[in-house]
């Protein structure tokens, strides 16, 4: 048999070459050690403490929200534990003037962008006042249709571009969201117009129960951005420093007129999909859960900050106490919100 001729273009080889280039960016390893000094975003001590504070606070908020839901005191809730670095370190790279188009699990970013906690609770309870985003808080109510926020983010980003603003539109979806047509249309439109958008894929490994491998034959989700001709990055989504660094770079490119970025944060949700009856034991093993918990963003960040001498148990206790108290107050305020009237609905129909 004659030897195969060298092909001018080998599509299989090209695919593997591209896929293999997507190495996961990590700066802080599981032990809280800097493993990629060149990429260290050099946050000040104050900023490091602030980011840790937000992550601890949000972990408490998640625990309290789950309990409140179980007591029947909260409505729809999508747990966030495990995704603190993915959510809060990406948000930490934003400015107040940036606009967030969240999915329904992305309530923490809305809160840290200025949404009062009471409103988040009212939204969860199905009280319409929870959706009236206050003036000056640049967020859109959480999107329910998976992927729809991606095309809308392209529009918001284009609007900012037309207004000459130095700001970005940031949107979030999950691993399942990348299978939607709107995912591709969103990144493609923003790419075609070089609009200042950041598209975050929080790959928490499961779309409800469907594992990541069922979503696509692609080795990574980040590589999907390449097809749209836009910079794309795969990052350790349990590493706050890495998530922050790649998002900050993306924002810088965006406001400098260099267009959008796709960021895949490789992470895990510890809890169920939502509190409405999902049972993760049907699709995950406790071994997998345990493996992921070793990579926990709070553990490694705590180790890092403690080694730097800027974090202590007492500090953490104080944050937990503050969070618990503020959550209690916010629930009290939500309880006190006037009952909705039919006339309230009618005026906004």
């Amino acid at each position: 048999m004659a030897a195969k001729k060298d092909k001018q273009f080998d599509p299989v080889k090209t695919l593997h070459e591209i896929e293999d280039k997507f190495e996961m960016v990590q700066i802080l390893n599981e032990e809280g050690e800097i493993v990629n000094k060149d990429m260290d975003p050099q946050l000040s001590d104050e900023e490091l403490v602030e980011l840790m504070t937000r992550m601890v606070y949000t972990r408490i908020l998640d625990q309290r929200s789950i309990s409140l839901n179980r007591q029947g005191r909260l409505g729809f809730y999508a747990p966030t534990a495990g995704q603190e670095a993915s959510q809060l370190a990406s948000h930490f790279a934003l400015e107040k003037e940036d606009f967030i188009l969240p999915g329904y699990r992305d309530v923490p970013q809305m809160i840290w962008h200025g949404l009062p906690l009471t409103m988040a609770f009212l939204w969860s309870r199905g009280h319409y006042e929870g959706s009236i985003i206050p003036e000056g808080v640049n967020v859109f109510p959480p999107q329910i249709i998976i992927g729809a926020q991606y095309i809308q983010a392209a529009g918001v980003a284009m609007g900012m571009q037309k207004r000459g603003q130095k700001s970005v539109a940031m949107t979030y979806t999950g691993d399942g969201g990348t299978s939607q047509g709107d995912f591709y249309e969103g990144i493609n439109f923003a790419g075609a117009y070089r609009s200042p958008a950041i598209f975050v894929i929080q790959n928490n490994q499961y779309a409800i129960s469907t594992p990541r491998d069922v979503q696509t034959s692609g080795k990574t989700l980040a590589q999907k951005g390449i097809a749209a001709g836009i910079p794309s990055v795969l990052v350790d989504g349990m590493d706050p420093l890495a998530v922050y660094a790649v998002t900050r770079d993306a924002r810088e490119r965006a406001v400098n007129g260099e267009g959008p970025t796709v960021i895949e944060t490789y992470c895990y949700r510890y809890g169920p999909h939502t509190m409405a009856g999902d049972d993760p034991t049907r699709y995950r093993t406790s071994e997998t859960d345990n493996e992921w918990e070793k990579r926990d963003p709070l553990i490694r960040f705590r180790k890092y900050l403690e080694a730097k001498g800027i974090w202590s148990e007492a500090q953490e206790e104080a944050i937990i106490e503050r969070a618990t108290e503020e959550i209690r107050e916010a629930i009290k305020a939500a309880d006190a919100a006037p009952k909705q009237k039919v006339s309230d609905f009618i005026k906004i129909m």
Partner: protein, 325 residues
């Protein structure tokens, strides 16, 4: 005043609003340099620049997303869907998102978006171009659905649509684009959304209709006049929400009515009109209210169109059934 075709009147309305408000943006597939496949946006990019009149990538859902995002940043988007048969690709943005914008944000955001699209039969298009899908849109609370039948109305209604604070679906019947001209004022004017117009007064029977069927209905009314019937023709102009006041007033005068639509019979605008009449004015009726529609089938191949589409003859036939009941 100038003599204009409907397509010219539509271009003129967009030009007027691009001039009137710098937040107005016009975009869609091939609307820029090419001026749109029907030339609805002819010359607008040249006049207002690529920043305000621009081509999009080929993706209807993406176009809908752009419109939503742009409206969130204070713009007043006029998006074109190249043919309304492609609306299924952008149903979530229109019915799922735009229509609910005000409600789901508790009134914080609204969506002053105009969705323009050609539709309608009789011009031998390939499949998925000609369907009358206004019933789909009318089924969604939060959307206003407008279908003009004349150049004059097209301009005034489109200006109103663009100035409206909430989403308006503006459907342009392809057969009417260049079928006739009429006097259209050069300056901007508005025609209120949600208002029907009595096109022809009559006392024996009311025909409620819209779009290209207005002209078939007028033809039928003229023919029947020769036979001694006085037929009123009401152009609904906005098919959702309906101008119930004008409809009921007409029925109370004539006591007989038919409803004519180009769309298939099932779950359409005509069914809504009939229901409103029977709920509100049954004691004024001397006969059942009948419908003239296309058959309940898939829209046919181009060569079957003529037989499939309702026409003046079908209208006269049904009208006489009601008149002689």
């Amino acid at each position: 005043m100038a003599q204009m075709t409907m397509i010219q009147a539509i271009t003129d309305a967009m030009r007027s609003e691009l001039n009137n408000d710098e937040n107005v943006l016009v975009f869609g597939e091939d609307v820029g340099n090419n001026g749109g496949v029907f030339r609805a946006t002819e010359g607008l990019q040249k006049e207002f620049g690529e920043d305000r009149v621009f081509d999009t990538p080929l993706g209807e859902s993406g176009i809908g997303g752009l419109a939503i995002g742009l409206s969130l940043t204070g713009f007043r988007p006029v998006m074109e869907i190249q043919f309304f048969g492609f609306v299924y690709e952008v149903m979530d943005s229109i019915s799922g998102q735009l229509a609910r914008m005000q409600f789901r944000s508790g009134g914080r955001y609204n969506a002053p978006v105009t969705i323009r699209a050609p539709f309608g039969g009789g011009v031998a298009t390939p499949e998925m171009h000609a369907d009358s899908l206004e019933g789909l849109m009318a089924a969604q609370p939060g959307l206003t659905v407008v279908i003009p039948s004349t150049p004059y109305d097209a301009k005034g209604l489109l200006i109103s649509a663009i100035r409206d604070e909430n989403p308006v679906v503006f459907l342009e019947h392809m057969k009417l684009y260049r079928s006739f001209r009429e006097e259209v004022p050069e300056e901007a004017y508005t025609i209120p959304l949600g208002k029907a117009e009595v096109k022809r007064e009559g006392s024996d029977l009311s025909i409620f209709t819209y779009g290209a069927m207005v002209h078939e209905s007028l033809k039928a009314a003229e023919e029947m006049e020769k036979e001694g019937y006085s037929v009123e023709v009401v152009d609904l102009r906005t098919v959702h929400p309906l101008d119930i006041e004008t409809i009921i007033e007409s029925v109370e005068k004539t006591n007989r009515a038919i409803v004519v639509q180009e769309a298939q019979k099932q779950a359409g605008i005509a069914a809504n009109v009939v229901t409103e009449i029977t709920e509100r004015a049954i004691l004024s009726l001397e006969a059942p209210v009948l419908r003239v529609t296309a058959p309940d089938t898939i829209y046919p191949y181009a060569q079957g169109e003529k037989a499939w589409l309702p026409d003046a003859k079908d209208i006269m036939e049904t009208a006489k059934k009601v008149l002689t009941f």
